[in-house]
Symmetry: D3
């Protein structure tokens, strides 16, 4: 890693996810790095994951509205822990149905946030159709927000880079990481945010192990002489567009 890795984020981070918990497991470190640097981070949850990712609550006999309220509360708490804003579009899950109305709401959010970086799901996920649906809408809205002719308040969007965050079974989603982000400095905050989601307790260990595993790869790819601590944590991402840069590193 070169000096460039110590640079601060260049502006707001926008995270667009299908369900209420995704942003914590998959991008909690990236969010915490952004807010720790004093930049804005905004999380948009298209649904609460009320049908597809709340098995325990359903088994406990909760009804739909109760479950949505529980998941909202947990996600808000986790977002607060990470220093991020959070907004729920309540579009329903399992299935998350794509619509131009949803895309239009996302365009408005892009125009308001003016993100410097965008994070979303992978376009392929044979285990969860909501994830690609969210990603498709996130990408379509980004393009629409760039057009001066699109009727929404605010300035036309620039060209913020998009990163796909890590799915649960990366190889099956054709997720070949091209970016390993050192989240060691904010690991404790991510770990803390995970504890805000008690219904998915089995995920805590899983994503702690994953952070360590990606940390080993971070060290392996960064080389031995760069002052990384013995134990680091990392998150993996895949870029959609080419990196634009003034220096190779």
């Amino acid at each position: 890693m070169t000096d460039s890795t110590h640079a601060a984020p260049a502006g707001p981070l926008l995270v667009i996810s299908a369900h209420a918990g995704d942003f914590v497991w998959r991008a909690g470190g990236a969010i915490a790095l952004t807010t720790a640097a004093g930049e804005r981070a905004k999380v948009v949850c298209l649904s609460f994951g009320e049908r597809g990712e709340s098995a325990r609550a359903w088994r406990e006999g909760r009804n739909l509205e109760e479950i949505k309220a529980i998941r909202r509360k947990e996600a808000e708490k986790a977002a607060a822990e990470l220093g991020a804003e959070i907004e729920f579009l309540d579009a329903g899950d399992y299935p998350l149905v794509e619509s131009q109305q949803l895309v239009d709401r996302l365009v408005h959010i892009y125009r308001e946030v003016e993100p410097a970086v965008v994070l979303t799901h992978t376009l392929s996920d044979p285990y969860n159709g909501d994830h690609p649906a969210a990603a498709r809408m996130a990408l379509q809205a980004r393009i629409l927000a760039q057009a001066v002719g699109y009727d929404a308040p605010g300035e036309p969007l620039g060209a913020p880079p998009v990163f796909f965050f890590e799915p649960h079974q990366p190889e099956q989603c054709d997720f070949k990481p091209d970016t390993l982000l050192d989240i060691t400095p904010v690991w404790e905050r991510k770990a803390q945010a995970m504890t805000c989601l008690p219904a998915q307790r089995h995920m805590w260990d899983y994503y702690t192990d994953l952070a360590k595993r990606r940390g080993v790869q971070l060290k392996r790819n960064a080389g031995p002489n760069l002052g990384l601590p013995a134990d680091c944590q990392a998150e993996a991402f895949v870029r959609l567009y080419p990196q634009t840069t003034g220096v190779l590193a």
Copy 2:
């Protein structure tokens, strides 16, 4: 582009190419950026391109030794223009035959230069077998140089990132750029270096056009609000290993 793009290179640049002229067309900008920042850049030419890339000289009736001398002189001049060191391994071209002896020489060079960044050819090129051969040796030598048990002077190499530079027909070589490097600040030096290769005069325009074309893409992918000049020049690259970073940008 974020502030990180103004960061200086972190150390020496090593360019490993098959023929004498490759480094100018494909990586002249990256080299000039490195040396302009006060860092060392070293170019290794495995051959002079004496058989495969000197058609005009053969047609003019020159013999092998004359052609090698001409190409050496031209490449040295171009390297000087770019501020780079240059070394010729004189391994022969068309075909460039892979050997452990050549790989071993490259290991010694890696250990001596301790590059922060490595540039070489793509692994696929259906128009030129020497290019993938050079790339395979460059990559194998990099791995060997990392092993403490490999018998060569110097310290085991770290894990410098490797970038493939742009081949002549990128799509046919499965070259999908993931890195667009702004070479506008050093464009004049690259243009000047190209003129040191008079035998390939038809390439001057071709690579001037290409730099402009990649510059348009640089602007398109960087977004409109980032202070890039109306006309920029860029070079395109593909990373072999994941980027390791402390910030998403």
Copy 3:
């Protein structure tokens, strides 16, 4: 092939296809193996193939309702020959239009059948848009049926493996077989079922040849010493999800 190949199917088979005849050509052997072992096999036809795969009947001047009736009758006869149940959703073809209503009907079927194995079309077919549309709905419904929160009768579905059956021009559909199923023991039943579809008589030879061709590959990949007969028949499939197993074979 190891002993495991003589194991009986573990439970019901569910085949989801776009048109009335697909299940015979592409999966008749797999169906017959299942029913021969005493397990349930259910075929769901999203349409009758009344517009896109009934050219002869149209040329003979039949109207839409007549054609649907003909195709239903033929498919019922073929299913009976294979020992399978069959259900028609009559959703229309050319185009088969995807809808949440159709997906919901499939979810109900999954919950009722509780399949141990699922067969459907490939996700890519540049010759027939109905095939990928059927596959997308079959896959989405399978995921929804797994969610305890999805509102449909029955227990949440397990994780039955999904196999794509062979399209008409396999290479053009990126169909690279990873599973060759020995259908020799039930070949006669498949051949008999094909004769239930007289309007597509030209297909009888084509799929007889194909079974032989895949049989040759079965033998080639199984090895010469395994007691397969000189002439075998096979069907080719591609798995969507990793195989889970207790033994490598």
Copy 4:
């Protein structure tokens, strides 16, 4: 998983690896399952990993012969723990140089062992050139051993399936698992075998975590109703050739 997963292996297992430790981390479970079922398992190590995978010993000042002796002893101990035979071809590593002589030795081994299943490295590994070199030789030798005209003792080989075992950074090696092997019943033996390699102590935890992670995926892909224990361990593999089978499962 169907009943077929409880089937016993059909015969000997042959593991061809580049370095002395590979078979433990990547295939220890598959080996132990084989020997637990009373079948033969043979490990062939093309080198000891004396240069490339013995960093600690070099740093401690050992010489080449000492290191080879240490690694041999450790690997023999691990193989014994797993119930496997082991043979070292001592072909050198970093680089492992391909040769027809080595391939010929492998042909002789194939003819002698008559494996029912073959395991080796992936054909792509940008971090370690010895792994693909070993895989290429393992595959070439398998094909040669099949030819009655190849001059080596024994009968022509059948067509044993080949599985690639998991590399250290799977996504970077284009390793998309298509087979998840339940190694829960023999996990303790694999764990014990890992402790026979004290020089790579940091790997113990890494591969314990990996087994758990692959175990979670095993359960996810096998479905919830199949009697797998709460915690399972798995190893991931990729098939080279199509599976031949008499039943879909």
Copy 5:
């Protein structure tokens, strides 16, 4: 190039594009070759590109209807220059929303034009969602038009080959040219047609350079001895279906 390259087009050309200007930049040469040979060429623009590709007009304060009128007029002029018919479906852009009604209109056009060759956008374009949407509808309509049972006037369509024309950033759209079309004989007409689109003046140079660049590749792939002029122009395409031919060339 063999003699076959001097053959005349076999019949009408149909170009289906998302926006009003696409056909000029990407297929102007192919169109002009067709009409120069006395064959019909028809361009269908699904929208005017009024929102997404008319930035300058929006900045100048024009309203939606004005912009549509301007773009229609310009496109009509360019089509006339190329000798082509043009039809606007006015389906709206940014986003171009797919619908069965639009597809049905395209089916009617296919049945009326009976094209011998079809041109459309690539199926992947991460910079512009309208392009893949247009391509998907163009392909679906082509398949539907082939079915005798599809209710639209005219004869069932044959199987005209489909070519994807070149997107703005080819590598990012996975556009690997497999067909290089010599447009030198009609280059002046394409250049003239480009000048009919004054609002996109920056594109004139860009696509002039591109034609030259593809021309260099045309020469490189055709070989040196074939009588191509020193400077040629070309357009690049990708086939969707296999070429059917009576001669290899």
Copy 6:
């Protein structure tokens, strides 16, 4: 198919294959079309297939020299039937070992034949390592023959297109046909040539069926209105380089 498909071949055909029989099964039609048009066709067999493809002869107890003589005679007879010249380089098979000497011999052949079209094996074949080895040498030699500086008699080669012919298990070799060649006019000659290879009698039916199958695809992709006979035969190919053409068809 357009009129261009009736064009005559533009010049000599060069077929470079690993073993003595390959050219008959995989390219017999293309060869016969060439010679029927009065053009030269030359077949180069790098080996006789004496070890890997002569199982029956080995089982009958023939020795190496006898087998080579038998295969030579059969192949010469088949070539004569097709009207082609044939040359054997006797480089050995199973394995066919790549060498610069062999490549150099191929360069000389290229310079002498000056082919207008080149046919060879696919670059991937997990069932037969000799096939990719032959292809790699064929491609390397073609590139070398283009260089004026390469020391061999004759003029520098142009840029003849290269087609890969069909392997035995096409999908497993990533063989996705992009060219379907109508060989109906010469089918009888190909069928006759196959009978010259009595030791591989089981292949006669296999490749007769394949020709029919590819013929069905030819008709499907050419469209119904083009005057192809009810039964046609075809051979499938994959291009390595982009097609250069003056007309889209």
